[in-house]
Symmetry: C2
Subunit: 276 residues, 2 copies
Amino acid sequence: MQQNSNSTCDNEKNGGCGHEGNPGIEKLTGNEFSNIRNVIAVMSGKGGVGKSSITSILACEYRKKGHSVGVLDADITGPSLPKMFGLKSGVRSNGSALFPSISNSGIRVMSLNLLTANEDDPVIWRGPVISGTVKQFWTDVAWGDLDCLFVDLPPGTGDVPLTVMQSLPLNGLIVVSSPQDLAVMIVSKAIKMAQMMNIPILGLVENMSGAVCPHCGEHFELFGPSRGEEIAQKFQIPYIGGLPVDPNFSKLCDQGKIEEYESNLFANFIPENMTQ
Amino acid sequence: MQQNSNSTCDNEKNGGCGHEGNPGIEKLTGNEFSNIRNVIAVMSGKGGVGKSSITSILACEYRKKGHSVGVLDADITGPSLPKMFGLKSGVRSNGSALFPSISNSGIRVMSLNLLTANEDDPVIWRGPVISGTVKQFWTDVAWGDLDCLFVDLPPGTGDVPLTVMQSLPLNGLIVVSSPQDLAVMIVSKAIKMAQMMNIPILGLVENMSGAVCPHCGEHFELFGPSRGEEIAQKFQIPYIGGLPVDPNFSKLCDQGKIEEYESNLFANFIPENMTQ
């Protein structure tokens, strides 16, 4: 899908694809209601750097270019995507598969928060159950025909990132960082994990690259100087760009109107002629 | 330890205490090298709202008042405490217990990042192994004589928060939130989980309560208006206070000098006459 990804994934059946990053571990097959051509996961290692924000922006930008897009919320115990897209619970089923909720612009979303009675009900589950749910979001959801499915991973390098890297036919990962040294250290863990699992890293995005003061209009470094290009260079991965903190963005997230946010962060990342 | 906590924990032996939040599940006993009088966990549900920052500030404020303090980093796959305290790997052992690293001001810290060869080596473990490590940080670490041990939990409501709530003799939890609606929703999950597990919530802190522009000095709402008092009221828990984003704080964290940060966020929370 991108010049730096040497894996393509055109299998028209079952959302499966030919490349196997982890020999010996079976990739999951999809179902008869899904035909997913590309799968990209968004990862960070560190919490709160904005994985869900970046996943949503990426999905919206793809969608605006006319592609069919889905988002799988793999953050089972801290799901935030439905709220950003203004989606409430009420997932339908045909008896053999669950149907994702559909956003205003037509993005298909599946998240645990669409399945709980109240959006703030906690899911107190241990790792194997959580991983099993993520797998079911692949095997038991009727995604339909998708150019691209984005997978929003939870923080850390534990069960869910491991399951997604082992079991889903990923084209690759997008890594999200923030300018703090601390975030850099933990993002490095995520990059090393992906490399150990032979999952290509498609690019790095730096979120919270400073802020713009609404009073004087000056840009300042909120969490320290930008480090995105430096990390990208260190690990020899493409640098996609940086996104400053924008109170308007937070507001749109809280209102469930993330699709109204104007962004072209991924202008050079999204291929003009993606496999349709 | 606080007027709102109806559980006290004065057992002088083994770090154990009398109250059992979850009947039927055995609390872990400590070891002969530890005598821990109070245990407080810091939780959020959502990642990146600043649990580790708040845990560190709390530990430093306790320490400055002359108490003996330890910090158990239960964020196994995304540990950030050693970096904040300027501690590197090199934990010693006496053959039957591990000794925590000791910060400049004398805070004892145990974290997985003190046990890995490089601070950015990823720990690609599944839940049961991660939970087992957290338990070992209780049973196999020679904490010595501590007035208070603070436990920095990872994001989410999965394995580790569950293990800590079930297995450690917690006095209670401090919950960390941020002003976003999204964070409020996920923090509510954490609060509900604690309530379901009968763990007292000692108070709520709102992190990232706006920012101060270094150019014009104006305070502005970075992630939306403050919501801390509202959540505290909704769940009937004490509101400890809010902490604005401060580039100086991030800088001290990155330099490993968090102990130099001046704060009195917990001035009203830390009891004057704590059990010594």
